[in-house]
């Protein structure tokens, strides 16, 4: 009688957890890709931890605080490592709806990943999309700051060059003026001396 009951229970469990069963999810781990030489072996203890993490995630959903580790069923473990899991209700006859399990896993994805030293790519829950990290957008884009700095430097340098050019031109213009007025003075004195010498019959002009 007991044997019959045992077989019945395992049969029901087997029915509940099957590949492509209703509300079942496939999980895929890539331990060697993630950890290389430090990859641990996937054994029943790791499976226990996994069941514990799923049960933990379900317990954080309102109305599901009574989920136990024994309610999480794993099956079809392959060498990959990949397996299917379902979460049953306390009566162990029905599986919890996929939507609830999905949202629970999504909320706690980070904790589950960290428990196994994996990330979203190496611990995959098929059919449970992970929320991608939003890009960190600073309030002022960095490029504008750098642009502003370079722009100001160029403007300042241009202004300096233009102003120094103007100043140089004014200085050389005033120098020229001084030279011209100096020449005029010497010319007038020359003219005065010529008048006196010219009246004495010197050639009139070779100016």
């Amino acid at each position: 009688m007991l044997w019959l009951l045992f077989f019945l229970v395992t049969a029901i469990h087997a029915e509940l957890c099957q590949p492509d069963a209703e509300n079942a999810f496939k999980v895929r781990l890539s331990l060697r890709t993630a950890l290389g030489d430090k990859a641990y072996a996937w054994d029943t203890n790791e499976e226990y931890l996994f069941k514990a993490m799923v049960a933990f995630s379900m317990r954080r959903v309102p109305n599901r605080e009574a989920t136990e580790i024994s309610h999480v069923l794993l099956c079809n473990v392959t060498q990959r490592v990949s397996f299917w899991f379902v979460v049953t209700d306390p009566s162990r006859n029905h599986t919890l709806p996929a939507v609830e399990v999905q949202s629970a896993i999504r909320m706690n994805r980070n904790r589950i990943n960290n428990a196994f030293f994996l990330n979203d790519q190496t611990l995959e829950f098929l059919r449970i999309p992970s929320t991608l990290a939003p890009p960190t957008d600073p309030s002022v884009p960095i490029w504008i700051i750098i642009f502003g700095v370079v722009f100001c430097i160029v403007i300042v340098a241009t202004m300096l060059l233009i102003l120094s050019g103007i100043r140089q031109r004014r200085r050389s213009a005033s120098l020229e003026f001084l030279q011209i007025s100096g020449t005029r003075e010497s010319l007038t004195s020359l003219g005065a001396s010529c008048l006196t010498s010219c009246l004495h019959g010197a050639p009139t002009s070779n100016l």
């Binding site: 781990l29 060697r32 060498q79 990959r80 890009p135 490029w143 370079v150 722009f151 060059l161 050019g165």
Partner: protein, 551 residues
């Protein structure tokens, strides 16, 4: 004639000015492409022959004319013959066209440079889509670097008819680029002479650093082997020779009047023959040097993509057949595939269409030139290097130096005739003329910052200068040899520099170079006529990758 014509402080400044003008973006993004398309190592044969036969003689001619006439292009050609002032005007107009669109490249270089100070680099990751479950659709279909170029930088419209609005970000960068150019040309040779030390030397520093880094990258040797393996049959391809001649011609920047302008600020006794040889050899060696760097980067990128492709296939097979993680490696991939095909035929045939055929050759064969090479391929390689921010900053700084160096030559070609003209320079000081030219160019250049701006850029790049320059240089050569008289020019040069003119230059100027230019001209003219409706590459978000549309 002009008492106080400004001079270069040392002949070294003149050499650096010519180098920084000639060594430009074409050396980095056009020559490697040509090398790849026309037989790798064997392309060097037509290239060097054309350098000796066409490049050096024409360069010497322009420098000699400038140094002898001591005026910008308009004045110089008017002195040779009053009927030829049109040649000078043509040079100025072509330079004007070039400076209009060329500075947009500097604006883009600034944009990428400013964006390089972030972690992660903005072109290395796709932005998320609306509900944060995946990446933006356009970015998924293309790659993140293409998305950043076409969507974030250009915000390109699907066709040239849809002009869109002026994008303020590239417009700001364009204004900055023109301000920088104005700063450098403000005082004429006094300021330009100092700037060219940087614009000529810094690109070489960066190229050296990149050479060392590039050669140590994983997979660089694949690219180098691919490039330098000579494909001798390409020597029989006339297109290889035509492209070699064209590349030498445009790479040296002949016909714009910039070389005449630079040489007009020389001492009359300057030995421009020696400088010709130096500048042309440095220009060509830089092209080869840059293509070594480019091909090691290509090799790295191709190897990286090839290995990612293989890893994707491995992951696909591992997941489909639930094999042990790490069991499938690159080395046993083929035998495991055949084993799986025989052991699980039905399942394998399901998976088979998704298995891509990864090939290193096809990755290497994607030959790219122009802005696509500089802003898409290089950035893709840079994002996979360690400390990518540093490499990115160095690279775009180098692009900026190369671009600004060429811009200095272009603006000199426009400004020297203007400042030489008595009419204009009596009304306005030098600074005002430069400012006015920069302002007008900047205003017109804003067209290239519109959404369809890149299509206009491509059109200008392909068609603005080609035929005009060939015609200008042809008329120049014929004018000096036959109108002015080769003997007269020879005696002028001898009086000026003190050296006799070598027979080689006379032979080239008189016969070979004009014939070459005529044949190039005829080829391009017939090419345009035969092609019929002109086409351009468009980026349509609904049809990725690029699609050819008609003008």
């Amino acid at each position: 004639m002009d008492e106080a014509r400004p001079l270069w402080a040392t002949p070294l400044q003149f050499v650096f000015a010519c180098i920084s003008y000639a060594v430009g973006l074409g050396n980095v993004w056009r020559f490697p492409y040509l090398c790849q398309m026309y037989g790798g190592g064997s392309f060097l044969v037509p290239y060097i022959i054309m350098l000796a036969v066409e490049g050096m003689p024409l360069l010497y001619l322009e420098l000699a004319v400038g140094q002898r006439m001591r005026q910008g292009s308009i004045g110089a050609w008017r002195t040779i013959s009053p009927y030829l002032s049109g040649v000078g005007v043509a040079s100025v107009v072509v330079s004007f066209f070039l400076s209009m669109y060329y500075n947009v490249i500097n604006a883009w270089a600034f944009w990428y440079l400013f964006h390089s100070f972030q972690d992660p680099l903005p072109w290395s990751v796709c932005p998320l889509n609306g509900n944060r479950t995946g990446y933006d659709e356009e970015c998924e279909k293309a790659s993140s670097t293409q998305y950043f170029w076409y969507r974030k930088t250009l915000n390109i419209s699907p066709s040239i008819q849809e002009s869109g609005a002026v994008q303020w970000e590239p417009a700001l960068c364009l204004i900055l680029a023109w301000l920088l150019v104005y700063l450098c040309i403000l005082r004429g040779t006094e300021s330009t002479g100092k700037v060219v030390y940087f614009t000529a030397l810094l690109p070489y520093c960066v190229l050296m650093i990149y050479l060392v880094r590039g050669l140590t990258l994983h997979g660089a040797t694949n690219g180098l082997a691919y490039m330098f393996t000579p494909k001798m049959e390409q020597l029989a391809n006339p297109k290889a020779w035509i492209n070699a001649a064209t590349q030498i011609f445009f790479s040296l920047g002949l016909g714009f009047g910039s070389l005449i302008a630079f040489a007009s600020y020389n001492e009359p006794s300057n030995d421009c023959q020696k400088h010709t040889v130096i500048v042309s050899i440095i220009n060509s060696s830089t092209s080869i040097f840059a293509s070594v760097v480019t091909f090691s980067i290509y090799g790295f990128k191709a190897t990286f993509n090839y290995e990612s492709c293989l890893n994707k296939v491995i992951l696909l097979l591992t997941n489909s057949f639930d094999l042990e993680d790490g069991f499938l490696t690159v080395s046993n991939l083929e035998e495991v595939k055949s084993y799986l095909a025989s052991a699980y035929p039905s399942k394998y045939s399901e998976v088979f269409p998704q298995i891509k055929n990864c090939s290193l050759e096809s990755e290497l064969e994607t030959a790219v030139q122009g802005t696509g090479l500089a802003f898409i391929v290089y950035t893709e390689a840079i994002k996979n290097m360690e400390v990518s921010q540093l490499w990115s900053v160095l690279y775009f700084f180098m692009l900026l130096m190369l671009g600004i160096g060429s811009m200095l030559g272009n603006t000199a070609a426009i400004l020297t005739p203007l400042t030489d003209s008595k009419v204009i320079s009596s009304y306005l000081p030098k600074e005002a003329i430069s400012g006015l030219v920069c302002l007008v160019n900047c205003a017109i250049g804003l067209v290239f910052t519109m959404e369809a701006g890149n299509y206009w850029f491509d059109i200008f790049n392909d068609y603005a200068a080609t035929l005009s320059l060939l015609l200008i240089v042809l008329v120049e050569t014929v004018a000096v040899c036959y109108l002015y008289g080769l003997r007269r020019f020879e005696s002028d040069l001898k009086a000026m520099t003190g050296h006799a003119l070598n027979w080689y230059w006379k032979a080239m100027w008189g016969g070979v170079s004009p014939l070459l230019i005529i044949s190039l001209f005829v080829f391009y003219l017939s090419d345009y006529i035969i092609t019929g409706t002109l086409q351009y590459q468009a980026w349509d978000a609904s049809q990725i990758p690029t699609v050819r549309k008609q003008l």
